[in-house]
């Protein structure tokens, strides 16, 4: 466990060291007058969808059912690559209830994930932005079998370095502005927890036999893919984001296999946020505050 904790901190430490900017909030000057601040595009979305889970530590059979999820993402231009850099943070929580085909047992599963990524933004043609990049993502979760006695749950704990790609296309249909976005994320290296074959959690956590439970992963034994397809639709004073999210999570290590597939339809609200704080608050020309 200690190794895993160190690795998690190491990942995020390296990510921050490599990509963080001393000028986190950037200013461009238009006509040498007012600075135009970079805003943060933030969306919070709720999803519902189908889940399929196989975890051979618990059962050799696939459990199927439904789940709900909440996802928050923030996208912001940063000073990296001469302001072509983009930072994306997202946080997600999901819960699912699945059952076996015989309807005699069920899984309850919950997953938390946080990812931070940096990409390079360029526009190969008008209205199309492409943002390839890298990200680090940590995931913690569980799959709980409501029937099993001594192996009732399977813990998921991992951190991964990923390649990401995003395409954002702005277009209009009959003068109605829309924004289509597709994003995918695939890991190239990961560190994750897995019990050894038929090793009980009693032996691992109560007796302290951690040998072999922290694994280094790459595509051959750890594969996840997160795909988003979203469409932003302005409606009155709001921008509604609807989308489809597909998650694939597969591990195959210590002769234990885990597959989690989910396909969720998402809907939420998008906000474009400009942050004013510190000395910028003194310049009141850019905003009207109820407080200051």
């Amino acid at each position: 466990m200690n190794k895993l904790t160190v690795c998690i901190f190491l990942f995020f430490g390296i990510a921050q060291a490599l990509f963080s900017s001393t000028k986190d909030t950037l200013n461009l000057y238009e006509n040498d007058a007012e600075p135009i601040p970079y805003s943060t595009n933030e969306a919070t979305m709720f999803g519902v969808g189908g889940y399929q889970i196989l975890d051979t530590y618990l059962s050799p059979y696939t459990y199927k059912g439904w789940g709900i999820s909440v996802a928050n993402e923030k996208l912001k231009t940063v000073s990296l690559f001469n302001y072509h850099g983009v930072r994306q943070q997202n946080f997600g929580i999901e819960f699912s209830s699945t059952e076996n085909d015989a309807k005699t047992a069920s899984y309850l599963s919950g997953m938390l994930n946080y990812g931070i990524g940096y990409g390079y933004r360029f526009e190969p043609c008008k209205n199309l932005r492409l943002i390839p990049g890298v990200s680090a993502r940590a995931l913690a979760g569980f799959i709980y079998n409501t029937r099993n006695g001594n192996n009732p749950a399977s813990m998921k704990l991992d951190v991964a370095a990923n390649l990401t790609g995003m395409a954002i296309y702005n277009f209009k249909i009959r003068e109605f502005p829309l924004t289509l976005r597709f994003q995918t994320e695939i890991p190239f290296f990961s560190v994750f927890f897995s019990p050894n074959y038929m090793q009980s959690y009693y032996e691992i956590f109560s007796l302290g036999n951690y040998k072999g439970v922290v694994k280094a992963g790459s595509l051959h034994n750890y594969f996840t893919m997160r795909n988003y397809l979203t469409l932003d639709i302005p409606i009155y004073n709001y921008t509604v984001r609807v989308g489809y999210q597909n998650n694939i999570y597969k591990t195959n290590v210590n002769d234990l296999t885990t597959h989690m597939y989910s396909n969720s339809f998402m809907i939420g609200i998008v906000k474009e946020i400009v942050s004013y704080s510190g000395r910028k608050l003194k310049n009141k020309r850019g905003y009207n505050s109820a407080y200051y």
């Binding site: 050799p60 209205n127 099993n148 192996n151 050894n196 036999n209 397809l229 597939y261």
Partner: protein, 361 residues
């Protein structure tokens, strides 16, 4: 006005193709079936790859396959299939190996069914009366003014550290203690450690655990030592008699295995029932659940105690004893403590070096 040009259409087609591939990425796993033969095959395979006592019990699992495969048929009922599969599992002579359906539980209980009970509820009530104390899952009282008595009927019943503090302090002026775990069929190993740690003077290796490392019958991990650390709260170093019978199984067997390592502890009664394999659960294609021993727990000398632990003093309870409302096992424990425990004129409670741990000695 922007329109979607041909390039964009191609991009969308590519995305669509990608999603179709993604949807189809779901692996084809074994599916639900009520087919008798496939369920038999699945059960046999699960045990073949994961059961841990084939060699110790000298069970030829291939012979078992041959014996039961011919008994499968396409037309057999669920009940008949369940009984046949239950019979197959009973070849393993393992109380931790069960088949669960919605209508029945297949079990092997001959580890106590074929032996004397050596415990009687009515006689036990006669000894305990109604004025006993209860702390967590423990019932306790003084059998005589200087002999304490604890009855712990299930390791499923939680016992907290505070419970144990109060129980042991209640017996501070007793010269000996009887811990009766007869008919305790097991439960939580954490409780076993928690109680046993009250009798340990120093950290010691009380056993080892192995787990299957692969599908071969002899594929095991290296034995990993199970250490027992002395409690840093109230501890007991005066004579202790642990009472056992054949229904002491699983976590209770583990508890007896730990307790017998302490010099002040003696085991009286009948052999324990055993059950030293840590069980795992799996599933058949028709949704039935199977539990089986998968991780052998060895004693401090690396011996398997799957078939039980012999007592230091063997005592049997006869029907005549029951009729006379006599429990000879409790009586023998009382006599042992009376004969072997030094008199305690006043409580000897010492704080030792383990922080503020209190020793009763």
């Amino acid at each position: 006005m922007h329109i979607i040009n041909q390039g964009m259409k191609n991009t969308l087609y590519l995305l669509l193709a990608f999603f179709l591939c993604t949807f189809s990425a779901c692996d084809k796993e074994d599916q639900y079936t009520r087919d008798s033969y496939r369920n038999f095959e699945a059960l046999w395979q699960i045990l073949d790859k994961n059961y841990c006592f084939f060699e110790y019990k000298d069970v030829n699992w291939n012979d078992v396959y041959d014996k039961y495969a011919v008994q499968m048929s396409d037309t057999m009922s669920s009940d008949s299939l369940f009984n046949k599969l239950g019979d197959m599992l009973s070849e393993l002579k393992d109380g931790h190996t069960n088949l669960y359906s919605s209508f029945n539980v297949a079990r092997y209980w001959k580890w106590y069914e074929d032996y004397p009970d050596n415990f009687n509820e009515m006689v036990h009530r006669h000894y305990m009366g109604t004025d006993y104390r209860i702390a967590g899952g423990i019932k306790y009282m003084k059998l005589t003014p200087d002999i304490g008595y604890i009855y712990y009927g299930s390791f499923m019943s939680p016992v907290g550290d505070s419970n144990l503090d109060y129980v042991l302090m209640y017996f501070a002026d007793c010269k000996g203690l009887i811990i009766d775990v007869r008919n305790n069929g097991g439960g939580n190993l954490t409780m076993s450690d928690r109680i046993a740690s009250r009798f340990a003077k120093e950290k010691l290796v009380c056993g080892y655990i192995k787990h299957k490392s692969g599908p071969g019958h002899n594929d095991f991990s290296n034995p990993y030592p199970i250490e027992l650390t002395p409690s840093d709260r109230v501890r007991w170093f005066r004579p202790v008699a642990v009472l056992t019978n054949r229904r002491c199984y699983s976590a209770t067997n583990d508890f007896v295995n730990k307790m017998r390592l302490f010099p002040q502890v003696i085991q009286i009664g009948d052999k324990t029932g055993g059950g030293s394999g840590f069980p795992f659960s799996s599933e058949l294609p028709n949704g039935w659940s199977v539990r089986f021993s998968s991780s052998p727990i060895l004693d401090a000398k690396m011996r398997i105690t799957e078939f039980g632990i012999d007592p230091d003093i063997s005592v049997t309870m006869t029907q005549v004893d029951v009729m006379a409302m006599i429990d000879p096992i409790i009586d023998r424990a009382v006599r042992y403590i009376s004969e072997n425990a030094p008199e305690v004129e006043k409580p000897t409670m010492l704080y030792n070096s383990l922080s503020d741990s209190l020793r009763i000695q």
